[in-house]
Amino acid sequence: MSLLDVRDLSVVFQRRGERPFTAVDKVSFSVEPGQTVGLVGESGCGKSVTSLAIMGLLPRRGNKVTGQVMFDGADLLALRPDDMRDRRGRDIGMIFQDPLSSLNPVVPIGTQVAEVLERHRGMDRKAALKEARELLDAVGIPDPNRRLKEYPHQISGGMRQRALIAIALACKPRLLIADEPTTALDVTIQAQILTLLKQLVDETGTALIMITHDLGVVAGLCDTVNVLYGGKVVERAARHELFARPRHPYTHGLLNSVPRLDSPRGERLHAIRGSVADNIPWAEGCAFAPRCDNVVDACLEGTPPLEPTTTGGDLRCNNPVTEEVAVP
């Protein structure tokens, strides 16, 4: 059985007097124990909202969440807020993009790590701090004894992200959700953090949902990749398959539009035309149709279904790309 099974998850934002906006539109995917699953897409594709909905962190008002999020046989969306609070942090940990705004600026790092242990594992402060020291050590923070007493502004961005990872891992969760964990960091620090995440996932067997816009990060980390566009999964495939043979024109376009460090210089980039603002609602056809090079009549006659491919993935496209991406 899957560890996490998201079924038809939809999030609709609605404010009084405004038209409802469907940020996440019947997204389904599952995560096996120990697996790393990627959610990839550009801004506005619904990747972060998906993760917040899974964690039950969306504001109570102004949105409607439907579908099921089965974790361990229980539907997280149907849990009472108290029960959800018990699970959050214990069974599912989360790492956010900006470590400075997700750490409390007036509480020392050590206390923030210990807090989780006290809350979920019923430890007393002394034992929790001792454990916190070990956690900081495990995520590669030098001189953890001293760091315990320091405040977030006193340590660097990379260290803050490590502290946040320590907090997320404090209760040995079975699932970790990382929402753009390295976007705010420099590349050399990003490499440190990604290596650390990879190690931790290998050692502890924690499953990981990696949310990112960076295809490079996905290429090195994820087992399965879900590509989102306009709130829907448009393509799902195993890592090697997706990068070697992207079938959806959007995935294909994304891969072709990123300048690569190892591609020959002076080659023109194949940009995807238009912008996300050109989307059409899914109900009227494929949201990507106005920007798509492979568009056919059927694309404007209703939502194409997500269908299994011969290679074990899923694809939502009437006229998929057939050529292979040349591996240099």
Partner: protein, 366 residues
Amino acid sequence: MTEERTGPLVELRDVKVHFPIKSGVLIDRTVGYVYAVDGVSLSINKGETYGLVGESGCGKSTLGRGLLRLVEPTDGEIVFDGTDVRSLKGEQMRRARRRMQMIFQDPLSSLDPRQSVESLLVEGLKAHGLAGDKAATAKKLREALAAVGLPASALSKYPHEFSGGQRQRIGIARALVLDPDLIVADEPVSALDVSIQAQVLNLLEDIQNERGLTYLIIAHDLAVVRHIADTVGVMYLGGLVEEASSDDLYREPMHPYTKALMSAVPVPDPQVEDRRERILLAGDLPSPTNPPAGCRFHTRCPWAQPKRCADERPALREVLDGHRVACHYAEDIAAGRIRPHEVEPELVRPDDGAAPGDTGELIPTL
């Protein structure tokens, strides 16, 4: 890129930009300096694209601003097309700025939300007294918009009516109306989604091919810079550590920092990602208020050698033809005579060095 190259358009010689750190209640006392740019020499040829890369805090943006004197350089020489920019005064400087324009990172905050596109574009022309003839001005605006791929109807709209990529196009058009020789672009695509990045990068290349512009592109993304630049300079903590043609730099990075930086950039290809070796740097960037003595990179360098690296700051020297490296041991590392070793990570605190005399001990709160 295909332009004929006739000597340098811009030459920087030992440029320094230091910011004083002030302290005190009534009387400002200078207690130290942030050595944002500390002795950079480089030259940019006409029609060339020079890419400046480095991580946050390395001084790349300050260098770009210092070049246009948007921040006043502390020392050094900036020669633009034969004239020493730093000696220009008031009106002369203002006139010289017409020929060097800037494109900023965040198009939303660099465009006044209350100005229409027309007013944004005309502003520069008016400031330089070029907006006298109405018909000619209108033609210029239309041409600039056409060059960046926006319809003439955009003139009456306001910045919020455009998407991020379109706003960046407006920013580029604003630089183009003045018909500059040099464009300094500070992180021109990093605020944009990847599919839009490609559009803007292609646009910058097209404009350069048409008009023979010279670019200084400042970016943290090595892949972007490699794609667009002819020559790449890598900065670390206020200094240039390596400079070479884009292809040479990629094929054979010689400075240990460049090697580490290259190996850290993720490549969107699992085949490559699974195989390649990473050089993980220990710790973080030291504070520019209190840069390490000797080679600034020696605290994190896996190839650092005892004594010399910590004592003597290496000069940027030509190691191979057209390939300048600031490392004492560049040849030895390239030949494999020096092997990398482990570096203990040191914790760097953002406020280190800001207050000399304070040993950094904190009041325990637990």
